[in-house]
Structure formats: structure tokens, C-alpha cells
């Protein structure tokens, strides 16, 4: 039964991801850069959920692995080749090594002490990237490609042009198909589909981990670690493995970010990014399979679309109303959009946490239950 459900979920998920340029067209989010971000932060959140959702260990330090992944990838682009494969490989490996190191230290404690340790270590990594290791990271300015980088595996391109990141010739920034459907200008882009395949793979791995004995052990740790220890099980190797796996997911996400847009900045390692992924997972539904991806999409949508709504756009929306009313509405609404997008997000976050403790997935289930009236099935689904 579970196997069947997982298979259906995976198939639906795959179709959804592959059709995203079409699905998101009416929302104004269907341009390559944002779709790539949806997929990449989806991977980041899926990885984070393996640690946080299963073991309950709340890490504030995952931004460090995202940053390490980005820096590794950009260095591979500079030194080796613009093919993203070696870059992604190094990102995952480097992030894994970092995660092993940070995990080994911080997993000596649990609960709030663990969270604080990861936060401290991540902040140290940020400071290292920002002001100490500047020859390696270029500090605040960020690491960029240059015309005179060696790129020893690549043939010299046309004079004066930076080569593009590619996967065996498929250029990440290239829109390979640009049809108009229902009046929407759709952009199918290689970069998005590379990220999408990675997202589907990550989702599949996450399902496998959730259903494995290893996943069961992680859940046991979350439920009652003390009891587990009394029964003679040493839980540390399991938590460390979960930590490293989720760190590697973050590294992959960081590498992908750099592959889509070859720039790595220190702010990618800042604690706010680490906090954002926590928000994504909680908002979407921690411990659920699909929740983290929904949360990632939700937050990135707000950050990129809501922050672009300025007063002129608002005036356009309300222009059908009488002047005094439209002016009034613009005054009321404008603090919550544009640069005030964070305010709206915060309010929504509060509403979700208070009324839907299980996140967006919880909300969707409640609605489904209302529609189908199938209480029993829904209750069962919640227990999975």
C-alpha cells in the first residue's frame, strides 16, 4: 500500500515538476531564473527535512553548506571546466566534508545546544568567507568568473566572451523552446530542467530514506532518544549520517545555484539563509515528503514576485475603482508588498503555524478531507 502511494506521489511530483513552466505561467513566476530557484531551494529544503523532519535536530547552520557548494562549483568553473558535472561533484563532496566536521562537533549536544552550536559554526564560516579567506572567496563582492581564468579542460572560446556553464554542450542559460500557449510566453530552459531532474532525484532519495530502516531509526531518535540509548543503541552515527546527507543536499543546491548563475557570494552563508530553510520546511510541513518543496516555492515566490509590486503596479490593479477608493487601497496595501514583502510573509507564517501546525500539507489534507469526507483515509495518511 505504502509502496503504491509512494509511486503515485513520485509520478505526480515528476509530472508537476516537468510541467512547471506551464503551471506557473498564470502566476507570473514562470521565468527560468525563478523556476530554477524553486527547484534548487526545493532540493535544499528536502535535504534539510531529512535531518530536521526525521531526527528533530534543528540546525541553523545549513547555509554554510550551501555556500561551500557554491564556492566549490565556481572554483571548478574557473580552474577546470565550464561543464557543471565536475562542479556539482566537488560541491557535494566538499559540503559533505564540511558537514562531517561541523556535525562531529555539534552533535555532541542535542536540543537547543545543538542548534546554537550549528549557528555559531555557520557564523564562523560566514566570517571566514566574508573577511578572512578573501583570496579564496573575494569577500563581499563575491567570486566571479573572469576572462583570464585557466579552465584547463575547455577549448578556448570566442575572444572576449565568457563561456557559459553547460552540461556536455547544453547551455544552462539557454531557452531551448519558446512557445506561446494561451497567450503566455513560455520559456523552457535547460538550466531549469537540469535542476528539475536533480530535484526529482532528491525527492526519490528522500522517499527511499523515509521508508528505509535507517529512516525508522532516525524517527526513533526523534521520538525518544533516551530510551533508544537505554536499549543499547548508539544513536550518534545515525544522527551524524543524517546530518552529512542533508549537508550534501545543501552542497548540491549550492553547486546548482552557482551552475545556473556562476557567482558565489558570502551572503549565501549568512544565518538568515539558514533560517530561511527552517521556515521553508516548517511552512510546508516538517516530516512530510512534499512539504519542504511547497515551502521553498512559497517563500521564493514571495521574495521574487511580491517584492516587485510597486505603487504603480497597485494603481494599475485598482484603476477600475473611483480615484479616492483606489488611492485609499493603494495606501493600505503598499506597505505589505514591494519592500514590505517580508511583513506579509511573516504574517502568513504566523497564521500557518497557529492554525495549521502541519504546514501547507496539513492544510491541503484538511481541504481534501472536507471534499471527499474520507476521514479514515486522511487520518491514515497523516500517520505515514
Amino acid at each position: 500500500m505504502t509502496l503504491m502511494r509512494d509511486r503515485t506521489l513520485l509520478i505526480i511530483f515528476t509530472l508537476f515538476v516537468l510541467a512547471a513552466p506551464l503551471i506557473f505561467a498564470p502566476t507570473g513566476a514562470a521565468y527560468p531564473d525563478l523556476l530554477q530557484r524553486f527547484a534548487i531551494y526545493g532540493i535544499f529544503a528536502i535535504g534539510f527535512n531529512i535531518l530536521f523532519g526525521l531526527t528533530g535536530y534543528l540546525s541553523f547552520g545549513h547555509a554554510a553548506f550551501l555556500g561551500v557548494g557554491s564556492y566549490s562549483a565556481v572554483w571548478m568553473f574557473k580552474l577546470l571546466s565550464m561543464n557543471i558535472l565536475p562542479a556539482l561533484l566537488l560541491s557535494v563532496v566538499m559540503a559533505g566534508i564540511f558537514a562531517l566536521l561541523i556535525g562531529y562537533i555539534s552533535l555532541r549536544r542535542s536540543g537547543i545546544y545543538f542548534s546554537i552550536l550549528t549557528l555559531a559554526l555557520a557564523q564562523m564560516s560566514y566570517v571566514l568567507a566574508y573577511s578572512v579567506l578573501t583570496p579564496l572567496t573575494n569577500g563581499e563582492t563575491g567570486l566571479q568568473l573572469r576572462l583570464d581564468d585557466p579552465r584547463i579542460l575547455d577549448a578556448a572560446g570566442p575572444e572576449g566572451f565568457l563561456p557559459s556553464t553547460n552540461l556536455f554542450g547544453l547551455e544552462m542559460k539557454e531557452v531551448f523552446w519558446n512557445p506561446t500557449v494561451f497567450g503566455y510566453d513560455l520559456q523552457f530552459n535547460w538550466g531549469y530542467y537540469v535542476s528539475a531532474v536533480m530535484l526529482i532525484l532528491s525527492f526519490w532519495i528522500s522517499i527511499r530514506i523515509f521508508r528505509s530502516p535507517f529512516g525508522l531509526m532516525l524517527r526513533a531518535i526523534k521520538t525518544n532518544q533516551t530510551r533508544l540509548n537505554y536499549t543499547g543503541v548508539n544513536s550518534r552515527p545515525y544522527t551524524l549520517a543524517a546530518f552529512v546527507i542533508s549537508g550534501m543536499f545543501a552542497g548540491l543546491a549550492g553547486g546548482l545555484l552557482a551552475s545556473m548563475d556562476p557567482l558565489a557570494g558570502a551572503e549565501r552563508m549568512q544565518w538568515t539563509v539558514g533560517g530561511e530553510v527552517v521556515l521553508m520546511v516548517v511552512l510546508g510541513g516538517m516530516g512530510t515528503l512534499i512539504g519542504p518543496v511547497l515551502g521553498a516555492i512559497f517563500i521564493k515566490y514571495f521574495e521574487n514576485i511580491f517584492s516587485k509590486i510597486n505603487e504603480v503596479v497597485l494603481q494599475g490593479w485598482f484603476s477600475f475603482l473611483p480615484d479616492w477608493l483606489s488611492n485609499f487601497l493603494v495606501t493600505i496595501v503598499s506597505p505589505f508588498v514591494g519592500r514590505g514583502w517580508g511583513l506579509t510573509l511573516g504574517a502568513l507564517f504566523m497564521i500557518v503555524v497557529i492554525f495549521l501546525p502541519g504546514g501547507l500539507v496539513d492544510g491541503a489534507r484538511r481541504i481534501m478531507r472536507k471534499i471527499t469526507g474520507a476521514d479514515r483515509r486522511a487520518a491514515k495518511a497523516r500517520n505515514e
Partner: protein, 448 residues
């Protein structure tokens, strides 16, 4: 229903090899795309205004946005036309650009490279912007300039003062009207040596990113050439808000000059902190302790209040200038918003006009055509006297103003007085100067 049109980027390179079946028909309709990224097809043309609306440079960003909106108004023939009337090139007629009405989109850079690039990307991919401008931080400007180069979009840099923007990180699609750290130092050093003597010990506090680094290096080199000694250079993160822990060590360092390589909110906080510690009233080495802020703006002077009195710095432009261009700009900006514009507002207004004018002269929005029209372009009437866009590095060369915080301000805007207008010849440099070497413009990229 699915009409195949040319994909925008990289078609000629590898696209054909891969998606052969899908991509082949698209080549046939290539002409409709104009041959460059986001070629405008309708009756409007979209510009992207990418400015910080949060973070330490938010004040500057807000003022930039005001100036952009004013420029759009003037280009579309609304308002009094501002500096379009005094501009030496008479191509702009108030009917938009190339007959198309100017529209715009705005975005928040958050003073972060990542966010700025995401915002610029969405302007290019989603809104079809044909030019991106803005950036109140050199780190951001350099990041976005790199993005525009790769996407095939013109980038008209706003407030960016780092040498690197038109130095080692210069790009063929990027143009800067604002001056830079080297020019500030070249203009300031003689004035400082004149007022404070040639035997001084300087302590630098520097914002820890490309702008701070290059301005500090320029200032140190220029003042050392006048006989000063650089005691120390301490880097402060851009996000610092409390500078007291950085100011305390200055007192015991034996330095008699403090150089604050800070801008915006950073400078307001560090200067306030320095004054609170009593640095301005101290005597060190039998000399009056002095503070210098190499890059000054009215917004900062306003934020720092009383503390700016008597402090030297340099600026790209100041609203009290009495030439026709400046007067026209201050007049129409003042009418619109009720206060005089800052140097940030001035530079982005100029950039918008310069871009529009270059399009008119080139007869296209194609970045290569626009770039050619801007390279080596000589103009006047935009408030800085005679100016030239140098072809070698896409940097504008013009006079630099050395300013001082006014002792007796007559109004809340009258905070700076112009001490000297340093002629352009004195701040000019070779493109391969040690502070600028190591970069290459590359080739202009029209995208598609």
C-alpha cells in the same frame, strides 16, 4: 498554437547540436527578434531600475528611484524636461526613446549581490527590460554588470565608486558615469596636504568589500605621495552598525588623522561614533586630530548632522552648483519632491538620459550599437561641465568636487560647501594604471 520563435541566447553556439528537432524551425523566424536580447517590439520600451530599498544604502536607493522616475517623466515628455533642455546633445525630443514610450520596473537589491542578480534576472527574463541600471554598492554593481554582460543587456551603473567597476571587473556592456576612488584620492590629497600639512599619520577604517579596498588603497597611495604615513587599515564588515569597538583603538594608535572609507549608513554611524569619542577635539603629536570622509554625499551629511562640520571629502556633484544643467535639475527635482537631489540621484538621472540619447544616436537598443554610441562620447550640460565617456574602460571623466561640511548651514539641505573644483586633467589616469589593471572589457554581447 505553439508558435516557435527564436530562443534568446546562445542559439548560434550549441543549441542546434542538441535540440536539433525542436530548435531547427526557430532559426527561420530569427529576424523577428531584432537580433538582441529583449528587443522591444510594441509601442513601449522597458527599463529596469534595480536599487537598494533596504540595507545600509537604502537612503541612497530611495533617492535614486526618485531620480529615475523623474527621468522617465522627462523622456516621455511630461514635466519641465529638466536637464534634457541643457544637455549638449539634442536628440531627445520628449517622445520616449526611438518613439517608444518608456516604462519601467523596479527591484530591491537589498545591497546583496545574490538578491541583486535575482532581481535583475527577473527584470530581464520576466519583464523584458532592455537596460538595467542602479546599484548603490560596488559589490552589487559589479555582480549585476557581470550578469548583464552574459545576458546581453546594457548596464548603466549607478552609485558605484570602486575602482574595480571600470578597472579589473570592467565589462563591454557596462558604463559608469560616477567617479571612482582613485579620482577622489587624486582630488583630495593636494587639498589635504595644503590644509593639514605633509607630516601626518593616518588611520584607515574601511568597509570590507571592493569599494572600501580600492578607495583605501587609492587614498593611502595618494596621501603617502604627499608625505603622510599610513598607521593602520582596519576592515569593517558592511553590515556593521556599531563602530565604537573600531574607534577606541584609534585613540591609542598615535595617528592624528582618521580616514573613514565608509558610505551611507556605515559612514553616519562611524562618524557619529568617532565624534562621540571626542576625536575631533583631541590634540595628537601637537596637531589637531582630523577626520576625513573621502566619499561624501548630502544624504550622509544629513544623517550625521552636526558631526560633519569641517570634515573634508569629495563628491561627484552637489546641488548648489550654479551651472545651467544643475540648476535645471535641482529645479525640476525640487518641484517634484520638495527637496534638492543627492549626488546619487544626479548620477542615475544622467545615466538614464545618456542611455536614451545613445539609443537615439545609434538608432537601436542593441547593446553593441548603444555601446558604440557611448564610447568616446563627449557631452556637457549635465551638471559636471565637459565630460567624456572614455572608450578604453567605459568610465566618465569629469571635474571632481572637493567639499567640506559647512560650519554654519543656512538650511537643512545646505550642509556641504564646495572647497575646490579639481579639474579633470588632475584626476585622469592611464587605463592600465596599477589600480585598474588586470581586467578586460571583452566584446560587447547583444545576447541572442
Amino acid at each position: 498554437m505553439s508558435k516557435l520563435i527564436l530562443n534568446r541566447r546562445g542559439l548560434l553556439k550549441t543549441g542546434a547540436a542538441v535540440g536539433a528537432g525542436m530548435a531547427m524551425p526557430t532559426i527561420l523566424t530569427a529576424a523577428s527578434d531584432g537580433g538582441y536580447t529583449n528587443a522591444p517590439t510594441g509601442s513601449t520600451v522597458t527599463l529596469g531600475f534595480n536599487v537598494p530599498q533596504s540595507g545600509p544604502y537604502a537612503d541612497e536607493g530611495a533617492d535614486e528611484l526618485r531620480a529615475y522616475l523623474l527621468a522617465v517623466k522627462h523622456l516621455n515628455g511630461e514635466g519641465d524636461g529638466g536637464m534634457m533642455n541643457t544637455f549638449s546633445s539634442k536628440e531627445l525630443k520628449g517622445n520616449g526613446i526611438l518613439g517608444r514610450k518608456v516604462e519601467y520596473v523596479t527591484g530591491d537589491t537589498q545591497t546583496k549581490s545574490d538578491a541583486a542578480r535575482a532581481s535583475a534576472q527577473s527584470m530581464i527574463q520576466k519583464d523584458g527590460a532592455v537596460m538595467i541600471t542602479g546599484g548603490s554598492s560596488s559589490g552589487v554593481a559589479i555582480a549585476v554588470q557581470g550578469l548583464c554582460q552574459e545576458a546581453g543587456i546594457i548596464f548603466m551603473a549607478g552609485l558605484t565608486h570602486s575602482n574595480d567597476t571600470t578597472g579589473k571587473d570592467k565589462k563591454a556592456n557596462g558604463f559608469r558615469h560616477f567617479f571612482n576612488g582613485y579620482m577622489s584620492a587624486a582630488a583630495l590629497a593636494p587639498v589635504l596636504a595644503d590644509r593639514y600639512g605633509t607630516d601626518r599619520k593616518a588611520y584607515h577604517l574601511t568597509a570590507d568589500y571592493t569599494w572600501g579596498w580600492t578607495q583605501q588603497a587609492s587614498m593611502a597611495a595618494a596621501t603617502e605621495a604627499k608625505g603622510w604615513e599610513t598607521v593602520a587599515n582596519v576592515l569593517t564588515p558592511l553590515t556593521t552598525t556599531d563602530f565604537s569597538s573600531y574607534i577606541a583603538p584609534v585613540i591609542n594608535s598615535g595617528a592624528d588623522v582618521l580616514v573613514l572609507n565608509h558610505y551611507g549608513g556605515n559612514m553616519i554611524n562611524s562618524l557619529t561614533s568617532a565624534v562621540q569619542f571626542g576625536l575631533k577635539d583631541k590634540m595628537v603629536n601637537n596637531k589637531n586630530f582630523e577626520i576625513i570622509v573621502p566619499l561624501y554625499s548630502r544624504l550622509m551629511a544629513k544623517g550625521a548632522g552636526e558631526n560633519v562640520k569641517g570634515i573634508f571629502g569629495s563628491t561627484n556633484w552637489h546641488w548648489s552648483l550654479q551651472d545651467e544643467g544643475s540648476k535645471a535639475f535641482v529645479q525640476s527635482f525640487g518641484q517634484e519632491y520638495g527637496f534638492p537631489p543627492s549626488q546619487a540621484a544626479h548620477t542615475v538621472y544622467c545615466q538614464t538620459l545618456l542611455y536614451a540619447d545613445a539609443c537615439e544616436r545609434a538608432g537601436t537598443h542593441n547593446p553593441c550599437g548603444v555601446g558604440e554610441a557611448l564610447e568616446g562620447f563627449k557631452f556637457s550640460g549635465l551638471g559636471n561641465g565637459d565630460v567624456e565617456y572614455r572608450a578604453e574602460d567605459h568610465q566618465c571623466f569629469k571635474d571632481v568636487l572637493v567639499v567640506k561640511g559647512k560650519e554654519n548651514p543656512t538650511s537643512e539641505f545646505d550642509l556641504l560647501e564646495v572647497v575646490e573644483v579639481t579639474p579633470r586633467a588632475q584626476v585622469e589616469y592611464d587605463p592600465e594604471n596599477e589600480f585598474f589593471a588586470g581586467g578586460s572589457l571583452g566584446t560587447c554581447n547583444p545576447g541572442a
